[in-house]
């Protein structure tokens, strides 16, 4: 086999006639029709870069319609990969290289390519009909409109078809290999090795040798095309990043949630029950968990979201780790039942992978507009803890933390993630299973002495005992009607209701005593604090780092705990003259902070279904400095 690329800074071997330019960071986006395999191309580039040792962050962007009409802008699917020799926290604002498989993909993505950036197009896809469909008046490859970019017109369709000749594939099958050609070319361009992708092809298509061979050939043809043709005079290298020592893998947010749940179940010696109803962008949690039945995981695809959360409540009542996951519209359906979990004081985890709303909204796009829904979106005084994950890998820790709080305080906990971190990926330092925090759960033992069991007796935290069926002597009935404290019997007494409302609130307040104090990063004497939560972590952190690198004075606090807030948050905020709260909503955390701490703030909002660009936050910070 021909040698795979030697991804070193110095140019060597057969490549010697081409110059190698070393870069600190590169952002590449593949885009094409939703059937063009762009998600796979992006995933392969990110795996390969991660394996090589870069820090990596990815951002898939795909249409809501599975098969929007071919060649239209609505059907364009993209996958962005950012890899670097230093720590990075986002998939990057603008892209350095754009691979566009058809005119529609070019039209919808060009705006994100840096001026002077590399633009690789499949010129075979630029026929009059598709150019027209993309809304161009004239062929962009022929007019002067792309003069500001390094344009590479490549006959990907023709070259791929030629490469797979003799394998007796249909034209359609042959064309399906084009994404491997594109991958090969990009791999060469950035000095990546083809090994991981070749391994992937073996695993994935091993049972269909002709297809496997076709993809192998397409990949290599793309690679050698870059190496041998005159078109590309230089290529690039992005050296390894210095990450903390350890074994790493690449992980997506939804996978990290699923694995975190499995770990949470293991470390608390519980069986995991996951009740859910499919919804973008949360379904992958179900897909992932359903593969791991050997951990005793029970996944239940319910008839709707109400059944899903109710089944999780039933599982929790019976002593399991009951979990449900959904996205905005599904969470709305669950609200009544979440109230039941608050009332029955049963520990469940409700995961909301937020997407653009309201209503069906933007199913495949990201947003943070369900924060107030999570904290307040139920009838009655119905408090519960709410926490948020900040990055794909962080979902692993966040969901275990949700379970620690739920099981120690006997309360449902909402974990907020979002479409951006759910589908995005980053390197994750694999923990040693033995090092995961243990969560010892005590169920009261049975009694036979006839002593009356009090299901709503309370411990120091105000948590009630989690007595489970099968335990003699502890038979009790739970329900949504107001309970008498202690006995749990139905009670309509005015004073008791006040007491119970107070108790449920105090119990949630008590969570603040058992979570870490809020930390601040950045300059000590800063007058401006950036206060963020959830998936905007990467953009905010990077923006703050950049400002500091340029000599600016700014600090950053990123919240994991949204209800209750860390106990030092109020006093901490008072140290700053200005507080900037960037959110992908119309100012929901901002509202909470203002009303809670009676302070002035600067709310910075964006609701376009897209994450913040680092530059947007940077500019905002500069404005306020």
């Amino acid at each position: 086999m021909a040698a795979a690329a030697t991804p070193s800074g110095a140019s060597s071997g057969t490549d010697s006639q081409k110059t190698v330019v070393e870069l600190g960071t590169a952002t590449v986006r593949f885009c094409g029709d939703s059937g063009d395999g762009m998600q796979l191309a992006g995933t392969q580039l990110s795996t390969t870069s991660a394996l090589f040792g870069n820090d990596v962050a990815t951002f898939p962007d795909y249409p809501a319609e599975i098969r929007a009409p071919r060649g239209t802008k609505a059907g364009v699917s993209g996958f962005q990969v950012h890899f670097a020799s230093t720590a990075i926290y986002t998939p990057g604002d603008q892209v350095d290289a754009l691979v566009a498989m058809n005119p529609a993909a070019l039209a919808t993505n060009l705006a994100d390519l840096v001026r002077g950036g590399i633009l690789v197009v499949n010129q075979d896809a630029f026929d009059a009909k598709d150019i027209n469909k993309a809304g161009y008046q004239s062929d962009p490859l022929q007019d002067q409109s792309l003069d500001n970019y390094q344009l590479f017109k490549v006959s990907m369709t023709k070259l791929t078809r030629a490469a797979v000749e003799g394998l007796e594939l249909s034209v359609k099958e042959a064309d399906r290999c084009r994404n491997f050609f594109a991958m090969g070319l990009v791999f060469w361009l950035y000095g990546r090795s083809m090994d991981a992708t070749l391994r992937y092809i073996d695993e994935k298509f091993g049972k269909r040798p002709a297809i496997a061979e076709a993809n192998r050939r397409a990949l290599k043809t793309g690679y050698y095309y870059g190496e041998t043709t005159e078109a590309f005079s230089s290529h690039y290298s992005v050296p390894r990043a210095t990450l903390e020592p350890g074994t790493y893998r690449s992980i997506m947010g939804n996978t990290a949630v699923a694995w975190g749940l499995i770990a949470a179940a293991k470390s608390s010696d519980k069986d995991l029950f996951f009740g859910t109803y499919p919804i973008t962008p949360a379904s992958d949690i179900l897909h992932e968990l359903s593969k791991h039945k050997n951990f005793g995981v029970r996944t239940f695809q319910a008839e709707d979201e109400i059944a899903a959360v109710c089944s999780a409540i039933g599982a929790a009542f019976s002593g399991a780790l009951g979990v449900t996951a959904s996205s905005g519209p599904g969470i709305a359906l669950k609200s009544e039942a979440i109230g039941l979990a608050v009332m029955t004081e049963l520990p469940i985890i409700v995961i909301n992978v937020q997407r653009g709303g309201p209503s069906t909204g933007l199913p495949t796009k990201t947003e943070q507009a369900d924060l107030l829904q999570a904290i307040y979106g139920r009838n009655g005084e119905c408090p519960l803890p709410v926490i948020a994950a900040r990055s794909p890998a962080d979902c692993f820790d966040a969901v275990q933390e949700a379970w620690r709080i739920a099981s120690t305080f006997m309360v449902p906990v909402i974990l907020l993630t979002d479409g951006y971190i759910a589908n995005g990926s980053e390197p994750w330092k694999i923990p040693d299973a033995k090092s995961l925090p243990e969560n010892k759960i005590q169920h009261p033992a049975g009694s036979s002495n006839g002593e009356k069991f009090l299901p709503y007796a309370r411990d120091a935290r105000l948590a009630r005992p989690w007595a489970i069926p099968g335990t003699p002597g502890l038979m009790h009935r739970l329900g949504g009607l107001e309970k008498q404290d202690g006995t749990g019997n139905v009670s309509y007494e005015p004073e008791n209701h006040q007491l119970m409302v107070d108790l449920r609130q105090k119990k949630v307040d008590n969570v603040a005593k058992e979570i870490p104090l809020q930390e601040v990063e950045g300059e000590e004497n800063a007058k401006l604090l950036v206060l963020s939560w959830g998936g905007t972590y990467g953009a905010c952190t990077t923006a703050v780092h950049r400002i500091i690198a340029e000599g600016g004075t700014v600090a950053h606090a990123h919240l994991r705990y949204l209800n209750p807030f860390p106990s030092n948050l109020g006093s901490l905020l008072k140290n700053y003259e200005k507080i900037l709260i960037p959110e992908l909503n119309m100012g929901q955390l901002d509202l909470l902070i203002r009303s809670r701490f009676l302070i002035d703030t600067f709310s910075f909002n964006k609701v376009q279904g897209k994450p913040f660009a680092i530059s947007e936050i940077e500019e905002k910070i500069k404005e306020l400095l």
């Binding site: 995981v297 059944a307 399991a320 949504g480 139905v490």
Partner: protein
């Protein structure tokens, strides 16, 4: 069985909780409560392994009155809660108590899916053809034209037949009884309790206050023999005070015939609760007053795999094929790299 001897022998009263029962005096719910308490000691499941789950409605207060584990959940959702309990803990004996509004209006979706999954649970539907708890609006089983608080000019929407729905879902155990026919009721409940799979039982229940005498035809001495037909497996469909009337098939449709005059028992439709196809059960579920006597008893009792057993089996299979779940192995699957 000899292993059962270690279990204390329980009485109906052992299943009563310390809570005062608060249904209206004379409510049919009392009788159903009494019969369930009576049969529970006979099925040899310890109280602590028994869970009653309900939704919202007069009938759904039921779990509070049982000295077992219980969940009084939210309106219509009891089958979903029960599904979670039974799937997570298959060894538990799980009962769902529901009303006609709870099960067939707001909870219709959960009901049909619970039945089709065939979890080993018992669903007892207290059908009083009215919304009791909310004080007398019509329900999805109220007969057409019924005048209620919310339908002063009579209902205009066609009622549902609970058993037809359950049979449409291919329920494996489908039965009907009547609150005041205590002996019949306890027999049906025992059979439901002993059935492996979802047992769906409709009980005609009198709501004294908002729909009194809705089932008078089925309970009054003068009329009940003509309006009710007791099903018995393998026996012809005969009814009437003198057991002189029967049901015969005419093409695809049932008809009432007088026995004698050239018609013998052999000409009648024979009940077969074990018929693999649910068509006979469906036909029976469609028979209603005033054209036909309404069958009570077991319409259908067949065997089909239980959801929770299948789930467990897959877990076992996964363990055999992949080995017991190991976190370190899981984290290391796929591509990893080492940073030194």
């Amino acid at each position: 069985m000899s292993t059962d001897t270690s279990l204390p022998i329980l009485k109906a009263s052992d299943f009563a909780s310390d809570q005062e029962v608060r249904w209206c005096p004379g409510c049919g719910d009392y009788s159903i409560l009494a019969q369930i308490k009576k049969i529970l000691p006979t099925i040899n499941v310890p109280r602590e392994n028994t869970v009653f789950v309900s939704g919202i409605g007069c009938s759904s207060r039921f779990p509070y009155y049982m000295n077992t584990y219980g969940v009084h959940s939210i309106h219509g959702r009891a089958p979903a809660v029960a599904t979670g309990i039974k799937t997570a803990r298959p060894e538990l004996n799980v009962w769902v108590i529901t009303g006609d509004g709870d099960a067939l209006s707001i909870g219709g979706n959960h009901l049909i899916h619970a039945i089709r999954r065939n979890l080993d649970i018992n669903i007892i539907l207290f059908n009083n053809q009215i919304y009791g708890l909310t004080k007398g609006q019509y329900s999805p089983t109220s007969p057409l034209g019924k005048v209620t608080k919310s339908t002063p000019m009579g209902t205009v929407d066609n009622p549902l037949h609970p058993l037809s729905i359950a049979i449409g879902c291919e329920g494996t155990f489908i039965a009907r009884s009547i609150d005041v026919h205590t002996k019949h009721l306890s027999n049906v409940l025992s059979r439901a309790a002993n059935h492996k799979g979802t047992a769906f039982v409709e009980v005609y229940q009198n709501c004294m206050v908002f729909n009194d005498e809705a089932f008078e035809y089925a309970t009054e001495r003068d009329t009940k023999f003509d309006t009710i037909l007791e099903l018995e497996h393998g026996k012809p469909l005969i009814f009437g005070k003198n057991r002189d009337k029967g049901i015969r098939l005419n093409g695809m449709d049932p008809e009432v015939v007088q026995l004698g005059k050239g018609i013998s028992e052999d000409d009648l439709l024979f009940h077969d609760e074990k018929a693999p196809e649910p068509s006979l059960a469906y036909l029976l579920s469609r028979m209603s007053q005033p054209d036909f006597p309404e069958p009570i008893g077991v319409f259908r009792a067949v065997d089909r795999p239980r959801y929770e057993e299948e789930v467990d089996e897959q877990i076992e299979m996964a363990r055999e094929q992949q080995g017991d779940g190991n976190l370190d192995t899981l984290f290391q699957t796929g591509d990893t790299w080492i940073v030194e």
